[in-house]
Symmetry: D2
Subunit: 362 residues, 4 copies
């Protein structure tokens, strides 16, 4: 491992001059979407460097046939090597890798002046007990702890400034993004009665379960079906707790597996601290997201649907308030592979480089 | 209208001797399933009489091609007429008809000594304000009010005895069945903290929306999508309130449209009045449903899924209790066309005739 | 292995007296459907004996949750043993097992006076070169060759009499059934111009690919997709050649993977030897299938659809003839798990026992 | 109607200077995709003018919610008027309108020096008998006949030069595109034995059926189903005949309705005139499509799938040749809303303006 640690400012400067990006992990769903976005990004002047673990003699189109061109299979996929990153002058690395691998590689990347957007869950959680679920180990715990503190949770609507200056952006979970964006404006404004627990009933398409062929990703299991899972135990729960500053008694999250390829819809139940009006709630949302380009607020009582956000980087939010002025139902939707993963990663890159956050995403 | 009103006992006796059944409304999804079940019912000795509004020269297979046989299109569909019912000696009439029609026809059927299982929402709700949503009108309000009082809510697991003796069984809503069966054992045992509102997040397949071709039943709308609707206003809410004796502040119901043909899954969030154990909850369920054949309780922490109840008349129920012993998530599943409609109607018929409730349903 | 070989007549007599059936392989899709049918079969007086390879302490509901009852998980699954079959007096064994296993076990079963309905492809093909695709090996090739000759291809509409007396019924492939039933009446009547190759373009739901979790059965691969596979090489081709007495130049078969759980539709293109009328074709079909209960012929120009045969044991057939009286398009549909597997197996059992072929299947 | 008729060259010059485009018909699936492509087109300097028939006070996001932005519902939709087109300086009009309307409006547009890309079937067919299926009528038959002759069939891979200079481009049908692109290279090279009829078995997603809510677009009809339709009568057949110069005896086309939102796969069966090799066929394809950016040829024996072309403007083509060197199976895939409609329309616009044909489409 390199022994010099650059500061965020230094690597920032490198990046702003001329971002050269690499993607490690191009075979999965998020990795594929990420490469697609980067290839068509209007501000990037070079193609992303494509990296894989063991692939040899493969090109992009071998792993992501939809990205082949009429001319052929596209860029080659290189076996990952730090030397190659150096040789290619990479200054921004996207990790679409398993949690363990991200945890292991980030210190080295930072040591080499390479900024990182990590799409795994490895660096999202500041509290060790929340991170337990990932069973991560660190070769150098002290250094890892330091980096952990430095890691910025990559929700651009919450932490744009920190992201802009970050060396390490921990790209949020897909479920978490849908819930956090739906609740942050109200929680932060103190509008909710937290003695009544907030219920987050979320539903996700199958791509959220990853590309591994398992009993649960079998078409015959998922199709024409719906199932709840991870009740009281899903690993995205920690992100809700930390980002919204809530306790497990205050917020409860249940994911479900939807029989669709992609898209998340979260139905969120809360109560207002004091009776309010739909206008007040809508204003709270619109104020919070003023100037942000990737969140669309529905005029109440309109509610978003998965079909309108799929293949976009938008998070759509709508709500209805009961006649009692207290009981609130919020619905938020996003594409788990875009706003919930690759799209948000590019949005974070845009902020890190100093571009408009929606560059290449509309 | 006939001027003699028979008592429940009298028509009961007629029925028990030799049930002769008719189905009005065989073109829809529930009607089709109902006819299928009745045709294969091992105790019925005659085919159901098939009735339609305006169909002429049609046979069953014209409207329900899956029910044709190698010999042809099956039984003819007769235009509805009271005289025909009399002529055929019908003593049990299934109404798979719009609410208004059911409301209009039931008095006449009862007056003619014909017992009725009504699959519409016309007679399910005792409180006028809950019924408002159906915008029903009565030619003879006094008589209708009397019949309303007599109508039995056709949830066999709650009202078996009353159903057995009923002249009019109001077959429950599909969503309502999934929620009521999941909550009744706990609510009736006083196990829940009702100051914390119960949240019922339900998801249904598209057949629940009926056969009419509308923007929302278009494949392109429903497929690869999920949407919430009827927030704070779905007409099944009244059934929850009446059957569980709860107020709108105590129970909240949100339906969603799933991209699948059939099946309902309800995820229900409640809190125990005092901290308990999973064993206590499981015992409460098993005790309540002891001896019942159409409800399957999952051993905790097992949760039911739609795939395992589709095309069955089962309602499957499972739950998980948080470590705090208070926060409870219940999941219940059923097939909206069977346990949520036609299957439950046959189950009610079985009770009305004195047969085993699962006859023809396993 | 037992050293006595009973004749078909002898084992027939045993079976007719009192059929006692066992199912080996209850974990797959066909096995599950088979057990469901047998459990509800109105003529069987005992439950099928459930057998598995390595399962211990499992019950039916563990592997097929949809078949659990309110009372519990149903019958136990026993590890397979010949002694157990003897002990239980089994005289009819269904093999829902891999090809190799079926090839290995059938000789022993027959030696023990146990008739067999084999759902695998192990015994369907008489010609060795057609069987090559299964890469089968025989411990005793001479005995296997003898048994092979005796094996009856289990298409009840073609070989009812032979099936009735068979010791070994080789249940047909799902694709093959859809094609053979659509063509046999015309080919056998010499109505087709075989110099123009017959084209069979078939499409099947994902359950046809089996329960193994693979890249191709992943929801993300199959959903919203369609793909051709096995062009010129699918192993069901041999069944078409042998049953229809055609050459590879005369009939061509291409399967496709449909994004649905179950159902096969075959679109078949042929030319009449001499110009004919739709009436002639329809008559040929109706004559051939006269008295058969599991094939439904559509009045031309009506065409069958998958939705109307799913969850039934019917094979539906329709056709259209071009104005030139020569170009013919036939469409046939069936449920690959029922008429294409478990349902046809039960139909074969019915014939073997002397019951009506549709017993337990309507 | 304006009385001056400009030449193609004149309107061409106008367009090349500064294309200003309008879309009539933005509510449908193709219209929505077209607007999306035009809004993000890198060469267009102004937004497309959005036109509707009767819509008032509507914005893009009202009809196409997925195209709303965080700022609001997007551009207004104007009631169609020729004056508005003039006022806005429109020189290229996309018609995503019913056939009758396109037939009526094109003469006026051309008279007003406005070039047209018509997505309907109104102008695709040169032979009156092929056009009969559309039941079109012309106010001025003589003028219409003249315009018909001038209309260019908008298959860029076949008619790029004519398209570049065309005043009226008749955008091809979705099915036709998939079949024509798969066959043109071989038919034109004389490689096929046309005495053996070519069979085109095509399957399309439901968006191909349009946005109207009908019995056949109901989710319950289309989902988990497959059905053939339009056998011997589909209106795209004429396009195959005219573009490939074949007779009805030489090519036969059967469409099917797939249970997916979008995508077409055509499986095409033909025989080579003389036995050949896979290499020869692949070379024929690659030669024909050399330099074209929107057709991807698979190296044999690879076959394309719908999943890899959905949401792209590619037509993917693959094939396999039997060992006899004669029997050929070609598979082609495209997205019916893109390469089969809106994408191809933009591709045509690119050629008409003189841009790279793939501009805005990758």
């Amino acid at each position: 491992m390199a022994d010099t640690i650059t500061t965020a400012t230094q690597s920032n400067q490198l990046l702003e001059k001329e971002p050269r990006v690499a993607v490690m992990g191009v075979s999965g769903y998020s990795g594929g979407e990420l490469v697609r976005l980067l290839l068509h990004h209007p501000k990037l002047t070079t193609n992303p460097l494509l990296l894989g673990r063991s692939e040899t003699n493969l090109h992009l189109g071998d792993l992501q046939p939809q990205l082949a061109t009429a001319d052929g299979l596209g860029d080659p996929i290189h076996p990952f090597s730090w030397d190659l990153l150096t040789e290619k002058g990479i200054n921004l690395l996207f990790l679409a890798t398993p949690h363990e691998q991200s945890r292991e590689w980030v210190p080295e990347a930072l040591a080499r002046n390479i900024r990182v957007v990590d799409l795994s869950g490895a660096w999202r959680l500041q509290e060790a007990k929340n991170r337990d679920v990932y069973k991560l180990t660190d070769a150098n715990p002290e250094e890892a702890a330091k980096i952990q503190t430095e890691a910025v949770f990559g929700a651009p609507e919450l932490h744009a400034e920190a992201i802009a200056g970050a060396r390490l952006v921990a790209n949020p979970g897909c479920y978490s993004t849908s819930v956090i964006l739906a609740l942050a404006p109200l929680v932060k404004a103190g509008l909710l009665d937290l003695t009544h627990g907030i219920i987050c009933d979320s539903k996700s398409g199958v791509s959220g379960a990853g590309k591994a062929a398992t009993a649960k990703t079998h078409f015959m299991y998922a199709a024409d079906n719906l199932s709840a899972y991870g009740v009281f135990s899903h690993r995205h729960t920690g992100e809700l707790l930390e980002q919204l500053h809530l306790t497990e008694d205050q917020i409860q999250f249940t994911p479900h597996l939807l029989p669709i390829p992609r898209g998340i819809l979260s139905t969120i139940y809360a109560r207002l601290a004091t009776p309010g009006t739909p206008e007040q709630i809508e204003t709270a949302f619109r104020t919070f997201y003023a100037g942000r380009s990737m969140v669309r607020i529905h005029a109440t009582p309109g509610l978003p649907q998965i079909q309108h956000i799929v293949r976009t980087n938008f998070c759509d939010i709508g709500f209805q308030l009961a006649k009692d002025g207290k009981r609130l139902v919020i619905v938020s939707c996003l594409d788990n592979l875009l706003k919930g993963a690759a799209g948000q990663a590019v949005q974070n890159m845009n902020l890190m480089v100093g571009w408009n956050e929606s560059e290449g995403l509309l």
